[in-house]
Subunit: 588 residues, 2 copies
Amino acid sequence: MELLTARGRSVWERMKASFWYEALKKKLPILVWLPRYSVKWLQMDLIAGMTVGLTVVPQALAYAEVAGLPVQYGLYSSFIGCFIYCLLGTSKDVTLGPTAIMSLLCASYIGHDPVQAVLLAFLCGLIQLVMAIMHLGFLLDFISYPVIKGFTSSAALTIGFGQVKNILGLHDIPQQFFLQFYYTFRNIYETRVGDLILGLTSIALLVVLKVMKDSLAPTDEDTAVVVKVCRMVVWFFATARNAFVVVAAALVAYACELSGTKVFTITGKTTQGLPPFKPPQFYEDTGNESLPFSEMVKDLGGGLAVIPLMGLLESLAIAKAFASQNEYRIDYNQELLAIGVTNLLGSFFSAYPVTGSFGRTAVNSQTGVCTPAGGIVTGVIVLLSLAFLMPLFYYIPKAALAAVIICAVAPMFDYKVVKTLWKVKKLDLLPFLLTFFMCFWEVQYGIVAGIVLSGFMLLYKVARPKLEVSDHGVLVIVLDSGLNFPSAEYLSDTLYRQALLVSHPRSVILDCRHVSSIDYTLVNEIQDLLQQFRLNKVSLIFSGLRIAILEVLLAADLKGLEHTESVEEALQSLSEHHVVQEHDQSLC
Amino acid sequence: MELLTARGRSVWERMKASFWYEALKKKLPILVWLPRYSVKWLQMDLIAGMTVGLTVVPQALAYAEVAGLPVQYGLYSSFIGCFIYCLLGTSKDVTLGPTAIMSLLCASYIGHDPVQAVLLAFLCGLIQLVMAIMHLGFLLDFISYPVIKGFTSSAALTIGFGQVKNILGLHDIPQQFFLQFYYTFRNIYETRVGDLILGLTSIALLVVLKVMKDSLAPTDEDTAVVVKVCRMVVWFFATARNAFVVVAAALVAYACELSGTKVFTITGKTTQGLPPFKPPQFYEDTGNESLPFSEMVKDLGGGLAVIPLMGLLESLAIAKAFASQNEYRIDYNQELLAIGVTNLLGSFFSAYPVTGSFGRTAVNSQTGVCTPAGGIVTGVIVLLSLAFLMPLFYYIPKAALAAVIICAVAPMFDYKVVKTLWKVKKLDLLPFLLTFFMCFWEVQYGIVAGIVLSGFMLLYKVARPKLEVSDHGVLVIVLDSGLNFPSAEYLSDTLYRQALLVSHPRSVILDCRHVSSIDYTLVNEIQDLLQQFRLNKVSLIFSGLRIAILEVLLAADLKGLEHTESVEEALQSLSEHHVVQEHDQSLC
């Protein structure tokens, strides 16, 4: 007996252990793929990780520039996400790090101040973590496709144009888009020829390499080893084109500096070495004045809502796109967790807010990454750059970084979507255009305006359901969706105008086949309508109500509620009623 | 020929004239009823107007107290609405003037300052006028019944309890509900016996008179003249009970003052005479400091959104209720216009914001008013009181006014609605309770919280439509309402989990009979789904799409879109396809 109990207990223990292990696997997806890890996977992950690493280093330097921070902050923000995502991520392709859009967003809140940037990353991570714990991923459902498209297209133009000043070698151009536009053209005569030539050459080189990559990718059809190797070399240079262009430009600049001619605007002095591990500063002492935590938070303002949300949105949108392309599913709330932890921990390494990068995720996926382990390689490359390459970054020309950014954001400007929306659903152009144009003013205003407008368009649909009225002797009105409170007045008004406020009041059959929900405001309105129909000695009959709706109406004890299975039945009942009435009248 | 043209022109002129006249009638509803005005109507309107006049004078004094203003401001606000509504109103019953709820709302923004109160009325009128011109009346559709009920019940308690201090004769009690509650009980030992006795007596008298009115109303069955006259006298006293109680209490107080004993807290000195006609002050000089317009507006703050909206809501809710009871329709935007003009013009007569009064509208309707002309009589009575009776108001005991308010707001506290909501639709208790409890903190927060919560509940329904999944060999999924962007991810996730991410991917038939709308976000998601189904070599078939939806899907050129009239047809097509496939396989 005791043995049995003991055995039972051991089975229970094992079940529990397995249950906990399953739960843990959900929270630490690495436990799912690590036990199955193979040499083949390792090989692919190594190549992919290295390729992404060669992309992320120049991009990180460039995006730090967009965010208005010293270039090393780009690298500080690029490695922690790789390690965290390897543990927590549910997509094999996604790479977290600084992105053009997040950098642009951050720029408008942190005012060139690294201390603020790091605090923003900390708070942003905290908020994202709380959202993950509260399973608030669903909030992103309320950002519609036209709003996302409007935002990304506008951001591509803003970011791209923001680099024109670096291509031209102009100084002291303000950040705001319209001012930037104005000052860039006003100061155009100050263009530095060296920067311009280098910038345009870099862009041309990047474009050519991209075209080569798309058309000369290695295929299985190549049998000759020479062809294969040639293609591989081309493909490697094309894929690592950003690194290649930046290194080449830096070498040219270095040569010029050595010969004593300063023809390029270069990055200049950067801090060498790995970032120290320390908590973010919760106060700031600028020498002139000291800012307490409350003031710092106040300065970040709306950024505390916009940055975490847009970070999530960007990351999830990318994860979703690649999951769909490579046929796997991601877990919204787990992705949320990964990005929250990354930002939170990142702030201890002086990172600014990061998210999923579309460009690098595409590179990762194309290179054939098999698991998130590829990220470890990328992270190590970033750390090595920080430790040993920083002195070389001194010579990187800003025009070359500008070229990298311009080529990275250009595909994000999707002009074709306007044509598609016009063809498919013209009304959806409204939130798209509103978001697009408002984003030039302030990115966050554009997004909020787009969300609010699409919300209003949605609520308008709910408030003004289509009512199909037809005349079968009595009026038959087909309701087309739910009976929700914003439609109460409209429904009642229609019934009044069509049936009651006419010279001879008429009976109405409400065909509720398509009605899927009802709330108390509507129940109350129906009570009122039934009374009015009774006073006017005509009928209001409901037909085809689903059980759930009927139960609500019955619970409300509505006086004179009539319900039939179908419109035909209602018509029949009304005509019988009519005959009886006429009979009664003839008896009188 | 010329004659014909001339005649034609004259017909056109007449048509145009009549068209303009019709349009004018819509904007000035008095043109509709004035030409038909009769002696019988005049008689009824005179009686109703007088009765309402006897109610409004004591209430106006009391509500000014609620708003934290000198009592004469109540009367300043009571007459202009009567005249304006007579010209512009579309309901015969509604009477505009100061109300308990608006006074409570105003109190929290104007800080006992009449100059601010008048400016608020001006701005509130302006905003309401703009809303009327822009036809924004529909915004009120988004305030659901549970929110209105929660708000009015909470306001009834707040206002009623706010008068307990006057019944007890306490001084220096703060305005905020919780503080008021605390201080009222803390200072209860300072109760003035005179005030308490007078207050309780007044309440008792008011309750008895109300009961008498309800049970002893004159009926057509009374044949004896004596009975009829007695009933009429009782009915008159009962209807004008507020005036009666206040006058009686004032007489008692006057007698006490003459005999030199000050047992009651009395109203004290008021300004006599009609208010001067002058524009509201757009700056303020308090002696210590001068407030510019911008500072004054800043002080009013959220009031500029809450007061105009709640004013509209209260007025329209009342108009709607009585229109329904007395079988006529009101025009939302015209009512909006009437109340906007009233507040705007009122501010030139030192009025504070007004709206429709439930209590007085009920009195008006019950007394049998026939047209808005009754308002003229009411307005004249208020003007006469201002001109001649102000010195008498000096002696009105505050406890008597408190009794009037308590009895007026008591019926607004609707505890039964909790039971009804619980029985009919439990979920609607959430916005009710949230609004109810938050309103004790700050009325405007309560309303906003209620609106936001019911908005979220609505959006949740849209975002998570019920998907009825059934297995007919293939999966048949019935969609229950529109395909709107918040549901995109949910729909796609369901299809993935049910059909694609299983060991053997399955075909799906989406039954779209109930789908009434679609937007581009969904079209995009469907494109993605079709691709996934194709990759998995299973089908996704749409059935029963309405023409409008089908047109959108066809316009989008979705690759592999299949559509059938009914689920049966889809099932048949799938089984044929299956046979062909098996046939193909057997050939291989």
